[in-house]
């Protein structure tokens, strides 16, 4: 491939495209993981939601509080806790943030699952934001936050609660009742039990909308896929297209600038097919180098992004690496196809002309 700097340039360019594919695929995996954060950590086996509501992220389930007594009366229910949830827009540092606010009863499950600092909210004017959100907007323990016209004091910082675009914020159930102006009800009821199947069946027979943790998680995921899936798939497709063109450019340039050498091979009896195979190996080498470079750039880029914008979780999964590897192979194939006609029709006499 001759000039080392050009090779480096080609590999870095194509590697950046591979990095973009890995980042977008990883971002999508991260979004899916973050979508089930609550159900993964709340510790409940079952959820009681308003009839017709099947997930937590879509919005406002309203369950009368007397349902809680009916649930607790079941002999195989170990514990049951009401949780109110709502999106509330916060105005922080001249920018708007839309957190998913969770209101739990102090001392009962359903609230903060991991603390980075401080304690959980106990009073109705106390708030625990996600630590990433807090750091971003300079909030610390003792800071004051306005939530729908009410003033709250930060008493702790939650960990592992930074959702993609929508971070978690925790207050007491009563505080969120007040903010949303809704009394004598809750959003959903968490149930702890060792016998989820029988309990769910009994409560469903009693007319309640009971879903398992897995069902709620799957519904959350389905909703998130419906929202983010299509744009992200489109972005990945464009990134693959960009990478293909870049590898094709690098491969094509290398082939065009080495056509004299290719002419020599042809003059020595090499067939057009042999030249194309040679070009493919060259493009494949470039694609492989781009994949390796893209992997390294991805690791560096991910470390940087997760430092600057920790709300983005970008895991490297087998699926995303597979997508990038397939894209690299596709890039190599296209990169070979473009100059193939030129190689096939190459004149052997070219080898004996003076360069100039």
């Amino acid at each position: 491939m001759g000039d080392g700097r050009r090779l480096v340039g080609s590999v870095v360019s194509a590697g950046l495209a591979v990095m973009l594919i890995l980042l977008l695929s990883g971002l999508w995996s991260g979004i899916r993981e973050q979508t089930t954060l609550y159900t993964d950590h709340a510790g409940a086996a079952l959820y009681v939601l308003q009839p017709g509501v099947r997930d937590l992220t879509a919005g406002t389930s309203v369950v009368p509080l007397d349902v809680l007594d009916r649930v607790r009366a079941d002999p195989e229910v170990t514990w049951a806790a009401p949780v109110r949830s709502s999106y509330v827009i916060l105005q922080l540092h001249d920018s708007k943030v839309a957190p998913y606010v969770v209101g739990a009863v102090p001392g009962q499950p359903g609230g903060v699952w991991s603390l980075a600092a401080g304690r959980v909210p106990m009073a109705d004017d106390e708030i625990v934001p996600d630590r990433v959100l807090a750091r971003r907007h300079g909030l610390g323990i003792g800071s004051s936050v306005e939530l729908a016209g009410r003033r709250f004091r930060v008493v702790g910082l939650a960990d592992h609660s930074a959702g993609f675009m929508v971070p978690f914020v925790f207050v007491t159930h009563a505080a969120l009742d007040d903010v949303t102006g809704t009394k004598a009800s809750t959003s959903f009821i968490l149930i702890g039990t060792s016998h989820p199947t029988t309990v769910a069946a009994r409560l469903q027979a009693a007319g309640l909308n009971v879903l398992t943790r897995q069902q709620v998680a799957a519904n959350n995921l389905r909703l998130a896929t419906g929202i983010y899936g299509a744009p992200l798939r489109l972005m990945v497709a464009i990134a693959v297209g960009a990478g293909t063109l870049i590898v094709a450019l690098a491969g094509y340039t290398a082939i065009v600038e080495r056509q004299r050498e290719y002419g020599v091979i042809k003059a020595l009896g090499g067939s057009g097919g042999r030249l194309i195979r040679l070009a493919f190996v060259q493009s494949l080498s470039l694609g492989s180098l781009a994949l390796a470079t893209g992997g390294l750039l991805f690791l560096a880029g991910r470390a940087l992004i997760e430092t600057v914008r920790p709300q983005f979780e970008i895991p490297l999964t087998g699926e995303s690496f597979g997508t990038a590897a397939l894209a690299s192979l596709a890039m190599a194939l296209v990169a070979t196809a473009l100059p193939a006609r030129r190689l096939r029709s190459l004149e052997p006499a070219l080898a004996f002309r003076a360069a100039g």
């Binding site: 340039g9 406002t60 920018s95 729908a148 990134a239 340039t253």
Partner: protein, 371 residues
């Protein structure tokens, strides 16, 4: 060397396939930026559509609540009468509002459900395109959402765990994330209680919206009072702020790739044309001339890439709109201009390495026999 010989263009386009690949590579990453921004801008247009088409001049909401999107606002029902009695108010009407799922069997549509008075129609959609406004036990949904749900007028839809009969359709307001649906205010109250979410206020003749907003705000110091325009701006700001981080990230990566491609192309081109550059220099052209030549090539590449990316973004946006009407891709001229300026900066940066090479080329090398 004649100033009129377009050396930059000729050298760049001598190998058209290479120039096209380079421009295509840069265009593809610019397309990524334009499409992502276009999707967010399109969502912003749809999210603010209800407000932009509302006949209200002023909107009252709960203290510190300035938006509808992902928001909860609760006001006492008597707020409507308190506003209606103010000087300069032509009419005041409360709407009820929540975010929830409208479903038909297994098909679901996340929706902003609004309870309004169909008699005045002020809180409803600007126009019902088929069917009629909802009566008790009825619902109207957006046409794209109806298509997604697979329902027609007369079908039953599930909302709040109850069945509602679809009485009409309207157009506009469905995004990739959600849609709008309307029921009567009384049906809404029967499910969610008597509180209202927002008060829409119409100004009397000759009363500017800003003046009316101030007047209402003085009368309701505990609540948030905004002009309709201000409210729509707040909605747009929310979408913009929520998407800012992901946009910045994608733009940064895309421009980095663009920088690498432009740099690689110009560097390769410069290396392959070193002898020609030496001849130009031997004929007496100053370094300035060679610098201009490389910068012209960068400008050509950028112009081709931006043009191609814009055409592709508009075309792809239309195609996506046909395939999935819930995704509106709005390619705004201001956004294209921003991308073009940023890419031009990237182009100049990409020309740095080749510039170093051409300015140091030895004129005598033009007369040496190439090996």
């Amino acid at each position: 060397v004649s100033r009129h010989v377009p050396l930059a263009r000729r050298a760049l386009f001598q190998d058209r396939r290479r120039a096209s690949l380079a421009a295509g590579g840069v265009a593809a990453v610019l397309l990524l930026v334009l499409m992502l921004q276009g999707i967010f801008d399109g969502a912003m247009q749809q999210v603010t559509l209800y407000l932009r088409q509302s006949p209200a001049d002023v909107i009252v909401s709960q203290a510190d609540v300035r938006t509808m999107h992902m928001s909860v606002s609760t006001l006492p029902p008597e707020t409507v009468d308190a506003v209606a009695g103010l000087d300069g108010v032509a009419w005041a009407e409360g709407i009820r509002y929540t975010t929830t799922i409208v479903a038909r069997g297994e098909r679901q549509q996340l929706s902003y459900v609004i309870g309004y008075d169909p008699v005045t129609g002020r809180g409803g959609p600007s126009r019902i395109t088929s069917g009629q406004s909802p009566a008790h036990g009825e619902i109207i949904v957006e046409a794209v959402a109806a298509d997604r749900l697979g329902v027609h007028i007369g079908d039953e839809l599930s909302l709040f765990g109850q069945d509602f009969r679809l009485s009409g359709l309207f157009t506009g307001g469905t995004t990739i994330a959600n849609s709008l649906a309307f029921i009567t205010s009384d049906d809404f109250a029967a499910q969610r209680g008597p509180t209202i979410a927002y008060v829409l206020v119409g100004a009397g003749p000759g009363v500017p919206a800003g003046v009316l907003a101030e007047r209402v705000a003085r009368a309701l110091p505990e609540e948030t009072v905004q002009t309709r325009q201000r409210f729509a701006d707040e909605e747009a700001a929310l979408v913009k702020d929520m998407s800012a981080d992901i946009m910045q990230l994608m733009a940064l990566i895309s421009f980095l790739i663009g920088l690498a491609v432009i740099s690689l192309t110009l560097f390769t081109l410069t290396l392959s044309k070193l002898r020609e550059h030496a001849i130009v220099k031997a004929l007496g052209a100053p370094n300035r001339r060679l610098v201009t030549l490389v910068l012209h090539q960068a400008a050509w590449l950028v112009a081709m890439a931006v043009s191609l990316a814009t055409v592709l973004a508009v075309g792809l946006g239309r195609l996506i709109g046909e395939v999935n009407p819930a995704i509106t891709v709005a390619v705004e001229p201001s956004q294209v201009l921003r991308v073009a300026v940023a890419t031009m900066v990237v182009g100049v940066l990409g020309a740095v390495l080749p510039l170093r090479r051409v300015t140091t080329v030895d004129p005598a090398s033009a007369f040496r026999r190439a090996t």
